[in-house]
């Protein structure tokens, strides 16, 4: 998995809420115009609508720019919220990072 080194990993954890908006934005901004991106949200247990909006914007922009983004989500609570937000239907979501990396590596090979 030598290509793993080329995958940009953005890791967020805990409860994502309006108080952490700047932190979330900064984390996502570090992966702007980068591909592929692994959005590691395995440690996230909650996200309010502001945080979800930030995640949505990032994913939509990546899609527009034909960049590959994979999300790792493990918390059932957060997973539910992501489903509500429609992210699940529009983006690649995995429940562990190995599978997400595999998906991104696969894409690189195409």
């Amino acid at each position: 998995m030598s290509e793993n080194n080329s995958i940009k990993v953005v890791r967020l954890s805990g409860e994502l809420e309006i108080a952490r908006k700047d932190e979330i934005r900064a984390a996502l901004a570090s992966a702007e115009q980068v591909t592929p991106v692994l959005l590691d949200l395995a440690g996230v247990t909650y996200a309010d609508s502001i945080a979800l909006t930030e995640l949505l914007r990032f994913c939509i922009e990546a899609e527009h720019e034909h960049r590959r983004v994979a999300l790792v989500i493990q918390s059932p609570q957060f997973s539910r919220l992501v489903q509500y937000a429609g992210l699940a239907s529009a983006f690649k979501i995995f429940d562990d990072s190995e599978r997400a990396r595999a998906y991104l590596d696969d894409g690189e090979g195409r």
Binding site: R57, Q77, Y84, G86, A88, S89
Partner: protein, 453 residues
């Protein structure tokens, strides 16, 4: 301090000036006494010579007067010289006293009592009186020297008074100036403080006013929702609640609509605009118009949302989650589409309440988002519940929130249908405050109006 210095200085200057003028006055009166002394002696001498010449007793009256007065003059001049400490003139005074005694004994008495040697006596008398005159003149000269010194001292004192007065005026002016400057500075500081506190007060008033405005709008909106006249459709009983966030007067972006459409259909819509404030309200109204407009054009729920989404993306609207649903009162079919919004709850008689399918991006995110229409064939007595995320996210544990919501829906089914939304709200929020906006809309299908499809 300035006042104390002025008072002390004033007292000092006054004492100097007072002493100077008292000295000058004493010298002046001493010189008068000396002149008086001389005059008495001369008067006596003239009187004696007159009497010696014509022997008329009338001449002797001024002689006796002089004899009575002269010792008093000697006394006064003596005490004057002592007071003024003019030791240099004391021998002259003693000589004058002595000369007068000699004149009385050697000239006056013989001239009055005898007619002998009148010529010699008168010459001797003249010599003695001249000596007396020289003594008086010498005393006067000493006093005159002293007077010159005292006068110049008095003049200095006067100058000192002038200088002191000038200094006092300068000091008073300076003090007044300093006082004024201090007052001015103090005034400036007070003014700054007053201005600061005034702007502080104004800001807080403005914030309060802004708060009141938002609170009022929130109240009016709630009032508008609670007075909503629902479609009068026998087949469907509707109920709803809307509770703005209780913590602050946040104008929420939560809304619901229930509208009778042509062809026995009822539109149910619910939504939530991300954020709060006037922008959220504007976006909310735009979304409501688009959804109602689309539904009136007989579009299916997914088409309604797709069109609304397209317009909202173009308008750079805040992100909005929504459910748009149609109830067909003829067939009891419930069709809906969701855009990033928590799923509707369905409760059918004899079954547990359950969450329906859902899932698509919210409105206002991506222009080309596809939505899907889900169609559910319901039965008489079934209840549909639409709600905003405040109803399940109060604890941040979505699974728990959803479970509580489903229980609340089941509890509401036991109550009159027009109170269903209130019962759900009250059941969920018995223990906790309404932290976020919460809107709940229920539709219960009437069992009595069942028709076959």
């Amino acid at each position: 301090m300035v006042v104390a210095a002025l008072v002390a200085g004033g007292i000092y200057v006054r004492s100097i000036v007072g002493a100077s003028f008292r000295e000058v006055e004493t010298i002046r009166s001493a010189r008068v006494h000396v002149a008086g002394m001389l005059k008495q002696q001369l008067d006596e001498e003239t009187a004696v010579r007159g009497y010696a010449s014509v022997r008329l007793p009338i001449f002797l009256s001024s002689y006796y007067g002089g004899r009575a007065n002269l010792p008093l003059y000697f006394d006064r001049v003596g005490s004057d010289l002592a007071t003024l400490q003019v030791e240099s003139a004391v021998p002259a005074l003693k000589d004058a006293i002595n000369t007068n005694r000699r004149w009385l004994h050697q000239v006056a008495f013989p001239l009055i009592t005898t007619r002998r040697n009148r010529r010699q006596l008168e010459l001797h008398g003249k010599t003695l009186v001249d000596r007396f005159r020289i003594d008086a003149s010498s005393i006067d000269s000493a006093l005159a020297r002293l007077a010159a010194v005292a006068n110049s001292r008095a003049q200095e004192a006067v100058l000192l008074v002038g200088a002191f007065a000038a200094a006092a005026i300068v000091a008073i002016v300076l003090a007044a100036l300093i006082f004024t400057v201090q007052q001015f500075r103090l005034g400036l500081r007070l003014e700054r403080q007053r201005a600061a506190s005034e702007s502080e007060r104004r800001r807080s008033v403005e914030m309060q006013a802004a708060y009141e405005t938002e609170k009022r709008i929130a109240d009016v909106m709630q009032e508008a929702f609670s007075q909503r006249i629902f479609p009068d459709v026998p087949a469907v009983r509707l109920s709803a609640t809307y509770d703005p966030a209780s913590e602050q007067a946040k104008i929420g972006g939560d809304w619901y609509d229930a509208l009778q459409l042509p062809n026995d259909r009822v539109l149910l819509a619910i939504g939530d605009v991300t954020g709060h404030g006037i922008d959220a309200v504007v976006a909310m109204n735009k979304a409501r118009q688009l959804i109602i407009g689309g539904a009136l054009l007989d579009a299916s729920p997914d088409k309604v949302l797709a069109h609304a989404n397209f317009e909202l993306v173009r308008a750079r609207s805040p992100i909005i989650t929504a459910v748009s649903a149609i109830i067909d009162t003829e067939t009891l079919e419930f069709s809906y589409a969701a855009a990033g919004h928590p799923p509707p709850v369905l409760l059918e008689p004899g079954r547990r309440a359950r969450l329906l399918d859902f899932g698509a991006l919210p409105l206002g995110v991506a222009a080309k988002t596809q939505y899907r229409t889900y169609r559910i064939q319901t039965v008489p007595g079934a209840m549909i519940v639409l709600y905003t995320d405040g109803a399940i996210e109060h604890s941040r544990n979505i699974s728990e929130g959803e479970a509580e919501l489903l229980e609340a829906v089941e509890a509401a089914a036991q109550q009159p249908t027009d109170r269903a939304a209130n019962v759900i709200r009250d059941t969920i929020f018995t223990q906790r405050k309404v932290a976020d906006d919460v809107a709940i809309l229920t539709a219960t299908f009437s069992a009595a109006m069942r028709r076959s499809a």
